[in-house]
């Protein structure tokens, strides 16, 4: 099948997933307990994305190396400053330095 058709099918499916709960919930007041639970979603999804990108390199486990060192530092910066800019900046410098000096 042509790439264009595959793109359009993936786009349609992705849009339907983006709309899904928003369309179902429209005009309804959700109970507070449920809203509090939904509020936990970024706290669960984001660290999962981090772990998956850090610990795995394709289908193999990433061996101990500069990424882990730089990540530990970035995590500290992130917790201390809660600044996205500082975390990205410090993390990138850390990974360059760590890669350069890693034996």
């Amino acid at each position: 099948m042509s790439f264009t058709v595959e793109v359009l099918l993936a786009a349609l499916g992705t849009y339907l997933m983006r709309v899904s709960v928003i369309a179902l919930a429209a005009g309804r007041e959700l109970p507070e307990r449920l809203r509090n639970t939904l509020r936990l979603i970024p706290a669960a999804v984001l660290p999962a994305l981090v772990a998956n990108a850090l610990v795995f390199d394709g289908s193999s486990v990433r061996p101990l190396g500069p990424w882990y060192v730089a990540f530990a530092l970035a995590l500290l910066v992130s917790i201390r400053t809660r600044s996205i800019g500082w975390t990205l900046g410090a993390g990138m410098v850390a990974v360059w330095v760590a890669t350069a000096v890693w034996p």
Binding site: F3, A43, W67, V95
Partner: protein, 228 residues
């Protein structure tokens, strides 16, 4: 009208949008090199607008995978949008329908998270939608620009820059403001454990499973000891 909220949103997203740019270029270069054509390549960024799934779709297409596998894998990778859809639904339900359905297409991990953090303190639905639009459109613009640069310029992104590291970095930076109390810490820890423990599952389903079990576990924890 709320131009101020739009500006705040786009400013908050700017550094993330810059971080996303190299991956737009990587996708654009891959699309140009693959011979699928500039138009279909760009269409991927405009219509799907989700980097990891776009790269996966392109790769599987080139490998000659069946369309069901190529499209299905892209959709599994993007299934976490159902979770963001749920998280955003209480706020989105107060938007007029054209806004609601339009803003959905611009949903990304970054725009959704930045907005959810903002919505904790910003209650006005008008300010909320302009904030989301500002953040989401900034990310969208940079992604399209990166794609175009990759397709037209064919600029190679050097390996030595360790750009792959931006992915865990970006989501770490977004996590800190999203994890502020015991239920959230619990959700995060459980989610990471399950994601790593079930990495043998196909493309991205480990993330989905981790997130779901994380949220369910976090919901059982009483929100005392709230940190700021």
């Amino acid at each position: 009208m709320s131009g101020a909220a739009f500006t705040i949103g786009s400013r908050r997203a700017l550094v993330l949008a810059v971080g996303v740019l190299p991956f737009g270029i990587v996708y654009g270069v891959a699309a140009a090199d693959s011979g699928v054509g500039a138009g279909p390549g760009l269409l991927g960024s405009l219509a799907i607008f989700a980097g990891a799934s776009q790269l996966s779709l392109l790769e599987l297409h080139l490998d000659g995978a069946a369309w069901t596998v190529a499209v299905g894998t892209a959709l599994v990778i993007n299934a976490r949008f159902i979770l963001y859809s749920a998280a955003l639904s209480p706020a989105f339900t107060e938007f007029p329908a054209p806004w609601r359905f339009g803003l959905c297409h611009l949903m990304t991990d970054q725009a959704a998270t930045l907005s959810l953090i903002e919505f904790d303190t910003q209650r006005d639905p008008v300010e909320r939608r302009w904030f989301y639009l500002g953040a989401a459109l900034t990310l969208f613009g940079f992604w399209q620009f990166g794609t175009l640069v990759g397709i037209l310029g064919g600029a190679q992104v050097p390996d030595g820059l360790q750009l792959g590291f931006i992915i865990p970095l970006m989501f770490t930076a977004l996590s800190a403001p999203a994890i502020r109390d015991r239920p959230a810490v619990t959700a995060a820890v459980v989610s990471v454990g399950v994601t790593i423990g079930t990495s043998w599952l196909p493309a991205g389903t480990n993330i989905l499973l981790g997130a779901l079990i994380g949220v369910a576990t976090g919901a059982l924890v009483t929100p005392t000891g709230t940190r700021t």
